[in-house]
Symmetry: none
DNA sequence: GTGGTCTAGACCACA
DNA sequence: GTGGTCTAGACCACA
């Protein structure tokens, strides 16, 4: 079952963080068609977020055609965002793992790694 | 002179986007101690953001000890975040460039690359 | 509940006055961890200050790690600045009370007392 | 000759800080009728403040009838704010010196001493 | 001209 | 209802 991590100081609203994490899990293949999202109550217990906020995130995902709420049953994933490239054994992914290993070895902070990634990305996309 | 790119649909508030872009430029070594940030007026002309929003971003940076506002003169960078690892000719950075080249060649979308990066990063930091 | 007294002729900006008074109350032990600050709305009613100015003061305090704003709930003290030396029954404090009694008896004005205090303080800190 | 100490982070405008320090010196008897204030040029050299700011402070003091600008000669004190109570050998002052000695001995910070002073003062004036 | 503060008012996120 | 952000516009301090 997916667990949400809310960063209240990130500047991104809570409901968007929840929606983004669902999509991220879908891209990673951790969530696929038919899978059930945690109920608002479960999320509230785990994250101390207001149930309305969870429901707003799920409504957002439903609006994008990714999930479907079924009365009295819960919210279910209806689409797939998984790609081969994201699979754990995909060569491209494994190479990035190695690159990140080296970054850690060389003592780079998360901020520095993000800065380099952001900059390199901006020249490619 | 640094130019800000505001994405009004990112879910991140404008002032945080401005502050983050200044920090990113500082990490890349594009902005260093003594450099002048664009005036609120200049940013307004370029981005159609309200001057107060720019000043809020600059005050945020001043709080973090990165810049200093001087009345009647402008806002100036007072610290350095530049690291060797971020330099264009750093091996680690060049390797990430190559990795990103391959991702583009294999037809991955920006979203997919971000998803892989986010996931790999979360296992290292 | 703390009540703010704004002196518009002091030359100190309103938001700094509010922040300083919160800190003063925290040092005196009148406000401690878990205590709720008045809402922006309440302060507006009591002082005729703009709500944004109150929020700016609270954000300043949040920056300093002294309070925490919780959406929809209010702003709460998260730290303690109280010291034994400031307690009403602390010997040092009681001696200053007696000193001040004598200053009043001898007919010194508030300005004169402040002048002496400022001068003596400058030779000790 | 009086030397000004400008604290750019105090929230009090520079010209008010200068005016206040002149008045403080007058109360302490360090400046009396006939004494000459430093020229704007001298203050600029010592404090890196703009000459207009110094002149504004002096104009403020002239407005209060405390000093007088004489064309081509400088600015001179024309009044006395000195009081016996502020003299270095005044008993009341000496007692405050002793009190402050003890505060320092007991390890109180400047902030804590200020907090106690502010609170005690508020009950007497 | 440039930053700093304040106001009034709007809209949003969250409880 | 409560805080967070943004806008438009005013006025001030400072250079």
């Amino acid at each position: 079952m997916i667990e949400f991590r809310i960063d209240r100081h990130s500047g991104v609203s809570t409901y968007l963080q929840i929606a983004a994490q669902v999509k991220q899990a879908m891209r990673m293949g951790l969530l696929g068609p038919g899978d059930k999202l945690p109920t608002a109550r479960e999320v509230v217990e785990a994250t101390r977020v207001n149930p309305n906020t969870v429901l707003k995130a799920y409504r957002e995902l439903e609006h994008e055609g990714l999930v479907e709420g079924r009365r009295g049953m819960g919210t279910f994933v209806t689409a797939s965002l998984a790609t081969d490239a994201a699979r754990a054994d995909a060569p491209l992914r494994q190479d990035l793992e190695q690159w990140m290993d080296r970054a850690v070895d060389e003592g780079l902070s998360a901020d520095e790694v993000d800065a380099i990634y952001t900059d390199v990305r901006s020249t490619h996309y």
